[in-house]
C-alpha cells in the first residue's frame, strides 16, 4: 500500500500514514509514535487556533491524539486521508471546547473576532508546511470578502453559521451559501479530490 495520502502540497517523502495507522490499530505503540510525528504539529496548531488558550489547547490536543490511538481501527480509507480524519477529529474537539466555554461567558470582543485570519506566524521549520500555508493563503485570497470571513470565522473560530450571520449582520441563508460557495472555490483552487 504505497498510496500517498498526504493532503499537503508536498507529496514526496513522508511516512505511509494508512500503513502506520493500520499498525496503530493493532496496538503498535512504536507506529503510534511515528504517526504522532506526522500529525502532532497539525493537531496542536489547529486546536490552538480555535481554542486560543495555550494550556487548554494542549489538553484538547492530547485528547484528540489519545482518540486517534483509541479509535484507529475505525478509520476507513475510502472516507479520505488519515490527515483529514485526524484533523476532523481535532476540529470537532476544539469546537466542542470553545462552545462549552462560550455558553457561559460572552466570547471575545467583536473586534477581536473579526480579525479572523489566524496569525500564520508560528514559524515551523518544515518547508512542507510553509508551502502548504502559502498555498492556502493564496487560495483564501481568491474568495469574496464575505466568503472568506464566513469560512474563516466558522473554521478558525469555531463559530456556528448562526453566530457568523449575527456577527457579520447578514441573513442566515446568505451565510449558509457563502460557506458552501467559499469551500467549493477553495477546493478547486487547492485541487482537493474527494
Amino acid at each position: 500500500m504505497k498510496e500517498v495520502v498526504h493532503i499537503s502540497g508536498a507529496r514526496s517523502a513522508g511516512p505511509d500514514l494508512p500503513e502506520l495507522l493500520d499498525r496503530v490499530a493493532r496496538g503498535d505503540q512504536d507506529a503510534f509514535s511515528s504517526l504522532y510525528d506526522a500529525v502532532g504539529g497539525p493537531v496542536l496548531g489547529l486546536v490552538r487556533t480555535v481554542v486560543r488558550d495555550p494550556a487548554q489547547s494542549e489538553e484538547v490536543a492530547q485528547e484528540v491524539l489519545v482518540d486517534v490511538w483509541r479509535t484507529a481501527a475505525r478509520y476507513r480509507r475510502d472516507r479520505g486521508s488519515v490527515m483529514n480524519w485526524v484533523l476532523t477529529l481535532a476540529h470537532r474537539r476544539a469546537v466542542d471546547r470553545v462552545r462549552s466555554a462560550q455558553a457561559a461567558t460572552e466570547r471575545e470582543h467583536k473586534a477581536a473576532l473579526l480579525e479572523q485570519t489566524p496569525a500564520f506566524d508560528d514559524v515551523t521549520e518544515q518547508v512542507e508546511s510553509r508551502l502548504e500555508r502559502e498555498q492556502v493563503r493564496r487560495c483564501l485570497r481568491t474568495l469574496t470578502e464575505l466568503q472568506r470571513q464566513s469560512v474563516t470565522l466558522a473554521y478558525y473560530r469555531g463559530m456556528t453559521y448562526r453566530e457568523v450571520a449575527e456577527l457579520l449582520a447578514v441573513p442566515l441563508g446568505t451565510v449558509k451559501t457563502r460557506l458552501r460557495d467559499g469551500l467549493i472555490r477553495l477546493r478547486d483552487c487547492l485541487g482537493v479530490a474527494g
Binding site: Y36, G45, T49, L87, T88, H91, T105, L179
Partner: protein
C-alpha cells in the same frame, strides 16, 4: 427544512458550524443523498487543508504526555456504526451523548434508585446497551461493561449524580440530574481523585442541568471523582472547594 435547504448545508456541516439538532437532521439527509456525501467528503478534505496551514511545532512534552496516556488506554474494536457520510464514528457519538444521557437517566429514575438499579443491572444491561449503542457507543461501552459499577450521591441544591465506572474499559461516566446553572462565566469541572490529588476529567455543558459525561482520560488508579465550579474553560487544578466528591462503587 426543505431538501434544497439541506443541500446547501454541506459547507456548514464540513466546517462543524451546525447546531447539534441541525447536524442530526443533515446526517439523516446525507444517508439518502450520495451527491451530498461526495460533496461533504470533498469539502471536509478542503477544511482540513485550512487546518494543515496552521501547523505548529509541538513542544516535546506533548509527545511524552500522549505516549504515557496511550499506554493505559484500551483501544476500541473496529466495527464502525453503519454511518453514511464523511464523519467518523467518534464525532457521531459525541453528538449523541445528550440523548444517551436521557436514556440512562430514564433507566435510573424508572428503576427507583440506585440500590434497585444496581440490583437490576444484570438484567437490563444488555437492553440498555442495545438502545444506547445506537446513540452513544462510547458511553454505552462503559455503562454496559460487564464490570460496570454505579454509585449515586446527592449534590448541593437537590441535584443528584450517578457515577459509573468500568475498570476493564478504564473509563467512567458521570450522570448529573437537576444541576443548577453555574454562575455566569463559570462551568462545572470534573476531576479524577488520584489519592487526594485532582486530575482534570473534563467539563460539563453549563447550559444543561441534566447531562451524562464521559470523563476524559483513563480512570487509572483514581478512587473516585470530584466536581467543582471553575472559570469558563476549566482550570488545570481545582480553584474552589468541591461540590461533591464521590468514590467509585466497589461492590
Amino acid at each position: 427544512m426543505s431538501i434544497a435547504d439541506l443541500h446547501t448545508l454541506t459547507g456548514a456541516y464540513a466546517l462543524h458550524a451546525l447546531s447539534d439538532e441541525e447536524r442530526a437532521e443533515f446526517e439523516r439527509h446525507l444517508a439518502d443523498c450520495e451527491s451530498c456525501a461526495q460533496e461533504v467528503r470533498e469539502l471536509t478534505a478542503t477544511a482540513s487543508r485550512l487546518g494543515l496551514a496552521v501547523t505548529v511545532t509541538p513542544p516535546v512534552e506533548l509527545k511524552a504526555a500522549v505516549l504515557r496516556r496511550i499506554a493505559v488506554v484500551r483501544q476500541d474494536s473496529p466495527h464502525p456504526p453503519a454511518a453514511p457520510g464523511a464523519t467518523s464514528s467518534r464525532l457521531r457519538r459525541a453528538r449523541w451523548s445528550h440523548f444517551a444521557l436521557a436514556a440512562c437517566l430514564a433507566a435510573a429514575a424508572g428503576l427507583g434508585g440506585v440500590a434497585v438499579w444496581q440490583h437490576q443491572q444484570a438484567d437490563s444491561a444488555q437492553q440498555r446497551a442495545d438502545t444506547a449503542q445506537r446513540q452513544s457507543q462510547q458511553l454505552a461501552e462503559v455503562l454496559a461493561a460487564p464490570d460496570a459499577k454505579a454509585a449515586t450521591g446527592s449534590l448541593k441544591g437537590g441535584a443528584t449524580g450517578t457515577l459509573v465506572v468500568s475498570h476493564s474499559k478504564n473509563q467512567a461516566v458521570f450522570v448529573a440530574a437537576g444541576l443548577p446553572r453555574p454562575p455566569t462565566g463559570k462551568v462545572y469541572q470534573l476531576w479524577f481523585d488520584d489519592a487526594g490529588s485532582m486530575r482534570p476529567a473534563g467539563l460539563m455543558n453549563p447550559a444543561r442541568s441534566t447531562e451524562a459525561v464521559l470523563l476524559s482520560g483513563p480512570v487509572g488508579q483514581a478512587s473516585g471523582m470530584g466536581i467543582t465550579v471553575e472559570p469558563a474553560g476549566g482550570s488545570p487544578a481545582p480553584t474552589s472547594a468541591p461540590l461533591a466528591v464521590m468514590s467509585f462503587a466497589t461492590a
